[in-house]
Symmetry: C2
Subunit: 567 residues, 2 copies
Amino acid sequence: MRQSMTLIPTLREVPADAEIKSHQLLLRAGFIKQIASGIYTYLPLAKRTLDKVEKIVREEMENAGAAEVLMPSLQPAELWQESERWYSYGPELMRMKDRHGREFALGPTHEEVITSIIKDVVQSYKRLPLNIYQIQTKFRDEQRPRFGLLRGREFIMKDAYSFHTSKESLDEVYDKMYTAYKNIFTRCGLDFRAVLADSGAIGGKDSQEFMVLSDIGEDTIAYSDASDYAANIEMAEVVCNDDKPSVEEKPLEKVETINQKTIEQVSSFLNVSPRECIKSLVLKVDDEFVMVLVRGDHEVNDIKVKNVLNASLVEFADESEVEELLGCSFGSIGPVGLPETIKVYADNAVQAMINATCGANENNYHYINVVPNRDFSVESYADFRFIQEGDPSPDGQGTIRFARGIEVGHIFKLGTKYSDSMDAKFLDENGRAQSYIMGCYGIGISRTLTAVAEQCNDDNGLVWPVDLAPYHIHLISVNVKDDVQVQLSNDLYDSLKQNGYEVLHDDRNERPGVKFKDSDLIGLPVRITIGKKASEGIVEVKDRKTGEMLEVSKDDLLPLLKKLLQM
Amino acid sequence: MRQSMTLIPTLREVPADAEIKSHQLLLRAGFIKQIASGIYTYLPLAKRTLDKVEKIVREEMENAGAAEVLMPSLQPAELWQESERWYSYGPELMRMKDRHGREFALGPTHEEVITSIIKDVVQSYKRLPLNIYQIQTKFRDEQRPRFGLLRGREFIMKDAYSFHTSKESLDEVYDKMYTAYKNIFTRCGLDFRAVLADSGAIGGKDSQEFMVLSDIGEDTIAYSDASDYAANIEMAEVVCNDDKPSVEEKPLEKVETINQKTIEQVSSFLNVSPRECIKSLVLKVDDEFVMVLVRGDHEVNDIKVKNVLNASLVEFADESEVEELLGCSFGSIGPVGLPETIKVYADNAVQAMINATCGANENNYHYINVVPNRDFSVESYADFRFIQEGDPSPDGQGTIRFARGIEVGHIFKLGTKYSDSMDAKFLDENGRAQSYIMGCYGIGISRTLTAVAEQCNDDNGLVWPVDLAPYHIHLISVNVKDDVQVQLSNDLYDSLKQNGYEVLHDDRNERPGVKFKDSDLIGLPVRITIGKKASEGIVEVKDRKTGEMLEVSKDDLLPLLKKLLQM
């Protein structure tokens, strides 16, 4: 493509409201243009990179046995009312009325539509499993759109939905999609982790997020430094190998701790370490108050409490509730001498504590030399805490580290959530009606573009991996009024295209400095400059990533490109 | 693709509300599924054909020098208010509010968005011309959606917009786009005409519609039986070669014509032919009444009146207005003895009339032996009538015939309509601000799919042209429990794919009759059936279009396919 014929409006200044690198660079390099808050036009360069991401996604979806469709953006409210998401989705769901007053949702996702289609046309177990996907513009009315394409209101998603007669069949397709997702993000050149995510009551390995590692990520990941284990910190399982220390149990003793409330204050005042203290919290679990204990240097993970106790709602009690219940404030709570109506649950690590310190349920007093099971009883021990850096990895390999991540994909075993609510059934081998078992699988296509831009850049601009670059080569004519340079540029342009390269030819009548700056900013993998040595048939080749520059004869160009681009 | 893994829900019955062949067949062959009135899901087969149409469109757009972008569907109301289309577009424009109450249009077209972008980023004449296109889902809230994808509320369009410094530059790009459009519809295998369309005051050759000839078309086209001349009937120019007959002028005479009102009644009563009568109509042209005359066998074309008189609004006067103005009813209007305040315009054919008949502006009376210019004066003669079948083609070649057409494309010289209203200017060579001169160019992608389905079918189903077929070959295993058949099917599937063919493999456990009926309905160009002769290595090949069937050895298959598919 001749640069004079396409639209690449580069900017010299960093746009004021662009906080993160990818947003700044995609704006500055002329890839995107904002139309309204969280709403962008993909200009020609971004469109080409999106096409490449989509091509990779389509190839891997085909390998995974998925068939492509295109569902509408306008979804009748009735479908969303059947699934009840019309009521639960909140203001993120964009809604509108047609000229006859009928209500529609602008699709943020398509579980309802695909379930209604499959329900209509697939009646027999013989036609299952099915795995259906689409690549489509989605809508979500974010409260605070930001970070450019990362949290927009109109964005491109790949969403897939699978339908099964059995959990085993779902597992099989889920695993295929997992492999497809790993292939996709690997091919996109991303540094990512597949992360165990919260999947509510389904639990276990039934939901995984694909996270691109990045400091600007909105989620924190716990990962092993020695294996590919990774999990959302809310989800990461804690393995407790603590043995009870072989010290003598001392007698329980109540001590005065005037105005000492936090773990730090109490441990410092009593000259013990925080890990020798018991942190006691009161939680309201489905309207029942319980006490949860963790070690003083640990934090309670309410999602784990919810999952272990199989609860619908878990909240931390507020201080007035604690005072009414126990007659003391937050800083003096403890499990010793509790009314029997309050059940005590403790993290595994508490079981190995001996001669510990805890609140006495009386302001300004703590117990010391507390021994679990001797001085208080525990309903059950389980994994109730957040994982921490330095913990052993749950897979037994290595140590946990933390990182921040950008979610670019999510695979999820839905089970019968939608088929039950929408009464979507097939007839099994015995002619009995059964709810479809479903999976769903999303990839943020425009998010992936941003994630790549966020990971692949330097001080001068973007640095695209070959497979996602809008073009492979930036061919620059230094002086478009010099006939020899123009002739060589045109010849090279044609021959490079014939050799399968995608070439952006800067044929603009601009100063060389402007062209070089734009070229670095846009970040195509290879720059070829046709300058004064054109008459000798010599051109300059620059590797955008390493910055290395070479002068070569035009006859030696193709072998060099083959090496540099490795397509 | 294995048919068991994709979604092709064929139907035996014709769906009740599908009026036209393409709608019926696309539903019955499992290409589309309705989600709401005028809103469809493209199932896997339709998606594949859409992809092929889009690929052709992209190739031809690239040849025409257009660069691809993707603009958002959500368009801020402010842009539409600037162009004033927010007020003029009517209820077809889908509108909505975001969570903060800001208004948006769901784009039916993108003149406003692209003009606002170009205005922002292209300041200099040096960056023009530009031709920018996208392929995108559009929204239009049709009053009565019908004919399946033909008049839907959510549909796929290719829309392009070009920006120029001069009319000459626009002409050049317009011509390139014209050629691209001809190539696109030719490559889609369509029988179409490029038709001159009404472009309002711009006039002339500045707007062309691409019409696929079809009896179900909503527009009527006038075309030459001997050239490629074609025009919307509103637009078709009439060439008048009539000479005054060499007969003696008779004296004007007023005759009684009691209760004779229509041309048919009067001509029959007076024993003359309708073509010897003058048909007189009163029109309100921008609030001024004028009289327009055509021959009795012709019809007044108000769009031509509007264009010739350079008017904003032209309406036919109602009978009460005529009675107040002339003192007579519709059936007795005529140009003789009119008050001078009423200007008379006449169609070219009237100039050649002699001894004609017309109303006397007095009920129950007509004049006979009327001679134009002798008995009444005419402000000007021009082409004021609708073209008719049998008229000479305006290009001098052949005779006009009528046909009905489905509009699949439209190219249009916009001029400065949007750049003026949106204050979108560039600086010319002298540093003066000038409005961009614009063109716009649309193709209905999902409409094109329907038009092909409408033209390419027979009693058994669809008959896809090779270049648009969802797959090239339908490979049918007659008995999926016969190991020999299965083995040969799998081997052939692999080898056909390796040879570049796209194959749909019917591996379903269904009766052969069902498979053959489905196959005819879906309409892939070639069917290969693996049946009992699999053990001898013999397969059956059917040409869907001709119905011809051949048994061939598997070793002779590839040369035969090469001949049949001619890719």
